[in-house]
Amino acid sequence: MAANPVVFATRVDKVGARAQFSRAVRIVLVVAYAVISMIPIFWMVTAAFKSRPDVLAIPPKVAFEPTLEGIVSLLTKRSVIPPGQEDQYRNRPDLGLFDRIMIERGQVITGPSQYTQRLLNSVIVAGISTILSVALGVLAAYAFSRFDVPGKGDWLFFILSTRMLPAVVVTIPIFLMYQQLRLYDTHLGLILLYTTFNLSFSVWLLKGFIDEIPKEYEEAALVDGYSRMQAFRKVVLPQAVTGIAATFVFCFIFAWNEFAFALMLTSERARTAPPSIPTMLGTGGIEWAAIAAGTLGFLIPVIIITFALRDYLLRGVTFGALRK
């Protein structure tokens, strides 16, 4: 169309009073939904910083005195200070912040909690498996994008369909396999599995990104004497960086959040954070603030990432098949 300075088309039937009113109603509705849908999250985030009685208060306390109690009790193992010895502990010279907080509650820190270790496992497993699945994925995606691989359509369908399998179907035999290979309850076992499941996703997503890089760049490089491999490294990869980054993040989130496999294929040593969380409810004297803090560790990165990736979200949830 002509290079008009028109930003919004101002159609005659859209500027009347009735049109403006219905527009206002629509905006109000959708903002209301956004607010309401955030209430659970908001409540959880604040619960992580509340003291125990505050968490349980009804009507819910909107204004409260923040404390790190929940977070500390999540991350540390404690034992109760024998009555009468509080002062002894309070006056020790080497008290850190966490120590002080707990001593106020009559407990002394004896070491990192099981959860901390689980969190670490999550980082290791999610991190390594994501790196692997993105690395292998970008190679396969490139090959599928640029070459007429025999049976390409079938291969791609096959790769996509592996993602459709319910976790439980695959777990039983893998459980048995792992028992035989002694991969049960190991980091390697989970890493292998996560890499595989993320692969199908990452191949499709990356193929979508690579498809959009014009072939002309590589062709120019090839004409200039570069080998295909060099063209791939020097021309395609740099241009695919944003796609790779987005894929990396999506895969990481999936691996980080993964629950079912972690539950079934690990127990003590390699267990990641998600399966641990429900079991924290088992013991008496439920530390709700601790649980809230645990979930916080999962929410905050996700919220940040959702903002960062909002332009890629459509591609992410449809495996790169569709773009805005």
Binding site: A2, P5, T10, R11, V12, V15
Partner: protein
């Protein structure tokens, strides 16, 4: 069919004028082209007539009714868009039937009307197909059929040939013109292609940067452009324009060329301030190569374009280059020095500063 009247119609975005206050009367059955380069306001004007754009001022009168505040659906216009705007999920038949269905017409009426219009536009074999499987020319014909099916008060066309492949453009052009002659519908046609406007319109409204430059018949805008813009824009190529200085009884042109203006200009030129300068204009076909001509120059290029040869002649200063259409038998090549004259009654004179045409006495 109906009259369209635009009274002081304008469109503003904050401080910027997309369309300056415009007055225009289009008679019943007339074919008027809104012509100009991108961003000149022609499309905005058309959309204001359609109701797709609000006016910042002025009134639009359609068939005697003030429609300025009315919705598009209340105005009884039909529109043909550059990108066809056919509903992609409907077949040709359903596309054409759409307006009548929206109005709640009976099925048998719709059937009949669709058949009539499809025959008129020769799209009967396409009725079961979807727009996706049609060529651009066919798609536009379906769009035309859809516009015709309602028998509206007027037709608005927004660069309808713009998205067509080159081979379709000419044939569609004559088809639209033919349709117009048949249906005698009031038509407002937006285009940036002056050949289209010249070929099809009864009158042309030349616009630039939101302002109307000239309203006239094709002959008028071609032979008597009102300003330098129209002179340049109309014609392929546009009018040759050479800047010079009025020196009493002749115009001094680059590199010692002197052109003696015919008598009727002398009187009019006295009114022009000397410092403004004069620009003379003449069309390529009004250049006469003559060994005794008053003007001289060097040929830069000579191209045989089939029925004639086009020369580019440098008047000497490297900047004033004119184009001349000469007989194809003429043996002239680059580097030749030539002398030429201009057809006296076809010469036009403009004020270089105000860019307006100077009228002879």
């Amino acid at each position: 069919m109906a009259d369209i009247e635009l009274q002081q119609v304008e469109k503003r975005f904050d401080e910027m004028f997309a369309v300056r206050p415009l007055d225009l009367t289009i008679k019943d059955g007339e074919f008027v082209a809104l012509l100009g380069p991108s961003g000149c306001g022609k499309t905005t004007t058309l959309r204001m007539i359609a109701g797709l754009e609000t006016t910042s001022g002025g009134r639009i009168i359609l068939n005697g009714k003030d429609v300025t505040r009315l919705k598009p659906s209340e105005r009884d216009v039909a529109m043909v868009f550059q990108f066809f705007a056919l509903y992609p999920h409907l077949t040709t038949r359903e596309n054409i039937a759409f307006p009548l269905q929206a109005e709640g017409e009976t099925k048998s009426n719709i059937e009949q009307r669709v058949r009539e219009v499809a025959a008129m536009l020769r799209v009967e074999p396409l009725l079961k197909l979807r727009p996706g499987s049609l060529s651009s020319g066919d798609q536009q014909r379906v769009a035309l059929a859809r516009a015709l099916v309602r028998r509206p008060a007027c037709f608005l066309m927004d660069e309808p040939l713009g998205a067509l492949d080159a081979d379709f453009r000419e044939s569609m052009r004559s088809e639209i013109k033919h349709l117009h002659l048949q249906q005698k519908g009031t038509t407002v046609y937006v285009t940036h292609d002056q050949i289209e406007a010249m070929a099809m319109a009864d009158r042309i409204v030349v616009m630039n940067q939101g302002e109307v430059q000239q309203v006239g018949t094709p002959a008028e805008v071609y032979h008597t452009p009102r300003n330098l813009f129209v002179a340049r824009f109309i014609g392929s190529p546009g009018m040759n324009l050479v800047r010079g200085v009025w020196a009493g009884d002749h115009v001094s042109l680059p590199l010692d060329n002197r052109y003696k203006l015919p008598a009727q200009w002398q009187a009019a030129l006295y009114g022009v301030p000397a410092e403004n300068g004069i620009t003379i204009g003449f069309r390529t076909e009004d250049v006469l190569l003559r060994a005794d001509g008053p003007l001289a120059g060097t040929v830069i290029s000579a191209g045989l374009l089939g029925s004639f040869t086009m020369l580019a002649i440098d008047l000497g200063d490297g900047q004033s280059i004119i184009e001349a259409r000469v007989s194809r038998d003429m043996r002239v090549s680059a580097g030749d020095h030539v002398r030429f004259d201009l057809k006296p009654d076809m010469v036009r004179v403009f004020d270089s500063k105000t860019e307006r045409a100077i009228q002879p006495a």
